[in-house]
Each structure stands twice: as C-alpha cells, then as structure tokens.
Amino acid sequence: MVRGETRNQATELRRGVLELCVLAVLQRGESYAFDIVRDLSDAGELLTSEGTIYPLLARMREQGVVTTTWRESASGPPRRYYRLTDGGRRALVGMVGDWARFRDGVDALLASGGEVRRGD
C-alpha cells in the first residue's frame, strides 16, 4: 500500500506540472492535441508517455480551464482545438506563482548542498 502511495505522489507531481505546461502552451493561442504534444516534447521531453495528454485534456475540459472547438483540417479528419477560458487564465497565473516558489526553493536547497540558511 505504501508503495502505491509513493507512486501516486510522483504521478500527481508530474500531472500538476504537466497541466501548467499545457496551460502555458495554450496561452499563445488555440491548439490541438497533436501539436500540444509536439510543443511539450520540443520543450524538453516533458511527456514521458504522449498518450497521457488525452486523459489530461479531458480532465481540463471537465474543470472548465479549456474549451474546445472542432475544426476541419486540410489533411485528415477534423481536429479538436483547445483554448484557454478565463478560469484557465486565472489557474495559469496561480500555478506560475506556485511553480516559481517551488522551483526557487528546490534550487536554493540544491545550490547550498542541502544547507538551509536562516535569517540573513
């Protein structure tokens, strides 16, 4: 059971960051799943399993942080385009702040070799 919980925590951590990355990609404008995947892997292997983008996007639709529109494509079947909602934009701002604090904290700890400086 403990092993399951550890695995869950790792999964949750990655999921939280991935959602932030997808929101960031969509900040530039609407996009479809295949292109979002390409952006995430171009940025540096952020998706270890490309297929997991679909469950993530489905959850983001449910949460209302994105809305979708089906559009015809010049090559192949229609594509589902994702766009940030106002709620999605607010979520992005909040997550960017969370991420910056988290990253700074981890970076500071790693840079100091694990030594926590107090006061200063």
Partner: protein, 172 residues
C-alpha cells in the same frame, strides 16, 4: 500488413485496459488515441514497421494512458486499478451495440425471425459482460418459456386454440 496488425494490437490492449472507464469516455479516448496514431505515422519521416513501433513507443503503454484517466488523489479509483485480485467486483461495462442487438433479437426478433432470432439473441446475451450470470439465466428462461410454450401449445391443441394467437411466434 504487419504495421496494421501492430496498431490493431495496440488499440485492442487500450480497449481492454479502458473497460473500467465510463462507456462514453472509453469510446472517446480510443478515438483520440487512434487519431493520434494516424497523424503521428503520417508525420514520421520514414514508413514501415520501425516507424510504427516508434510512434507506439512514444504514446506509452495503453495501461499507463488509462491510468492517467484517474483523477489525481482519487484513492478509491487508484486502489481499484492497482488491486489485481479477481475477487474485487469490477464495475460492469455499460450497454453497448452488442446488448442492444441481443435485446432486440430476444424480443422483436421473435416476430421477424422466429426461433432463430431469439436463439442468436440468447447467445449474444451470454457473450455480453453487461449482465450478471443470474440475469442471463433469467433472460434465457423467460425467452425459452415465451418461445417454446406456444409451440408446445400449438402441437397439443392442433392449431385450434385461441390462446396461441397471443404468442410472439407468428402462427401460419
């Protein structure tokens, strides 16, 4: 041909892993992944088996994709997916095309294709995973009684009985 088989096998594994998802979302996820595979294969610089394997590797294991459907922090769902013990009562899949055809055959089918229709219907009922064994037995018994009784009645009454007219088997 070999590459088609690779994709078919992958989709079959995805469908099997997705059985625990709600029927609507399951169909949607399979469609999304199928579309992704087609687009990714088209975008590969080369074609052939190696290219298809590359696409499927990048997608990840079907079980991992389905695992990502679980809402983060949903302990009950996570426990259900990690616990492989067969005694756990898995949620039955919803009503699909198989179930609709089965029901139509054992009901309306009796009028259009007497005997054979309901017989195929019963076979489909037993193939379905949507009903429990008890329900399948009840359905089978009811169909047998409704279909067979009028035939027995027809033979014993010599075709003169008025009761027979209410049977689902058309009397000719």
């Amino acid at each position: 041909m070999e590459t088609d088989a690779l994709v078919r096998d992958y989709i079959a594994r995805l469908e099997a892993a997705a059985v625990r998802l709600p029927a609507g979302r399951r169909a949607e996820l399979v469609d999304e992944v199928r579309g992704h595979i087609e687009a990714a294969i088209a975008a590969e610089p080369t074609s052939g088996e190696a290219a298809v394997r590359n696409v499927l590797d990048r997608l990840g294991k079907p079980e991992v994709i389905v695992g990502a459907e679980i809402p983060p922090g949903d302990a009950s769902f996570a426990a259900a997916t990690t616990d492989m013990s067969p005694t756990v009562t898995a949620e039955r899949p919803g009503i699909g095309p198989l179930e609709v055809v089965a029901v139509l055959l054992v009901t309306v089918g009796a009028f259009f294709v007497p005997i054979i229709g309901p017989a195929i219907g019963i076979v489909l009922v037993w193939m379905s995973r949507a009903w429990s064994t008890q329900w399948k037995l009840v359905i089978t018994l009811v169909v047998l009684v409704v279909v067979l009784l009028p035939i027995v009645g027809l033979m014993s009454a010599g075709g003169a009985g008025g009761v027979i007219q209410s049977s689902p088997v058309p009397v000719q």
